[in-house]
């Protein structure tokens, strides 16, 4: 791919009005802002799921259901879902820009990234908000303890 490179410090060739929103700039800012928030969200997520108690060994439906029945963890997880997928998707877009050379492969790869991000955000959000911690007819020993309380 060839591109003409302006001399350093030369002014924009297009006027500010014609340039419109600088999406690359906002993407650049988004990577940094989301990154800072993700450190907290992901480290907390890993700590609670892998470090407390018996760690991975304790993970099962009852554990996850207990967390997702709590609005605090619902909010935590939904934030993490959106921020991480958009951050990761935008990062992958950067890689495609760097390494994919033909218009066709760039288009296919970027559309696939976009599709994956959109589908998983919709799926994940639906799961978090339509989730039933005590599905009827499931064996009580698989459910969180609060299910049998009522």
């Amino acid at each position: 791919m060839t591109s003409t490179i302006d001399a350093p410090r030369s002014p924009y060739s297009r006027s500010p009005q014609k340039r419109g929103v600088n999406w690359e700039k906002w993407g650049w800012i988004y990577m940094r802002v989301s990154g800072v928030v993700l450190v907290v969200l992901i480290f907390g997520h890993l700590f609670v799921n892998l470090m407390i108690g018996k760690g991975v060994d304790a993970l099962n439906f009852a554990f996850v259901a207990g967390k997702l029945a709590n609005p605090f963890w619902q909010t935590w997880d939904v934030l993490m879902l959106w921020l991480a997928l958009i951050h990761g998707g935008n990062g992958m877009r950067t890689l495609v820009n760097d390494y994919a050379t033909t218009q066709l492969t760039r288009g296919i790869l970027k559309s696939s990234i976009l599709a994956a991000v959109v589908i998983l955000i919709v799926l994940g959000t639906l799961v978090i908000y339509t989730f039933d911690a005590c599905p009827a007819g499931s064996p009580a020993n698989l459910l969180p303890s609060f299910c049998s309380a009522n």
Partner: protein
């Protein structure tokens, strides 16, 4: 050309020109303006040594985490299907091999997170300390992994 906006050397230069603009010049342009016979390009953070390796690692870990995340959302979505479906796939993860995989994944995330903070500090604070900050990242990574790995492997191998 490589997109210039991830190259703090250029971004810093851009900021000093008055704001968060993303100039399209490459490192080669910068280097060719140097009046020196040195083979090492000056004015670049990202060619060779700490600056380059941190970038390579940041990229590889970012991609690895992205693909893991795709799978991770799908397996977690099984909680919406049934307790049996979710427990089935999770118990297939609770094996020694997967336990080692999780260790590698956490190692990748912790590096990406700390180095991400380093990138942000380079961009908004000072690029002068990028090398020192790289070793701080490695140090914090070692400490975090020392806190995590023994405990995780204990959980994985002691059933």
């Amino acid at each position: 050309m490589r997109s210039a906006h991830r190259r703090p050397d250029i971004v810093v230069a851009a900021i000093s020109q008055g704001g968060l603009v993303m100039p399209q010049q490459s490192a080669a342009t910068l280097a060719s303006q140097q009046k020196t016979t040195s083979l090492r390009p000056a004015g670049t953070l990202y060619r060779g040594r700490e600056g380059m390796w941190s970038w390579v690692l940041h990229r590889i870990t970012g991609v690895a985490i992205f693909f893991f995340l795709l799978v991770h959302i799908l397996d977690t979505a099984l909680v919406r299907v049934s307790p049996e479906a979710y427990n089935g796939v999770i118990s297939s993860y609770q094996t020694p091999i997967m336990g080692l995989g999780e260790t590698a994944l956490v190692a990748a995330i912790v590096f990406h997170a700390f180095n991400g903070i380093r990138i942000i500090l380079i961009d908004f604070w000072n690029a002068k300390y990028q090398k020192v900050m790289f070793y701080v990242v490695i140090g914090l990574w070692v400490v975090t992994m020392l806190g995590f790995v023994p405990r995780h492997l204990y959980n994985v191998f002691n059933k």
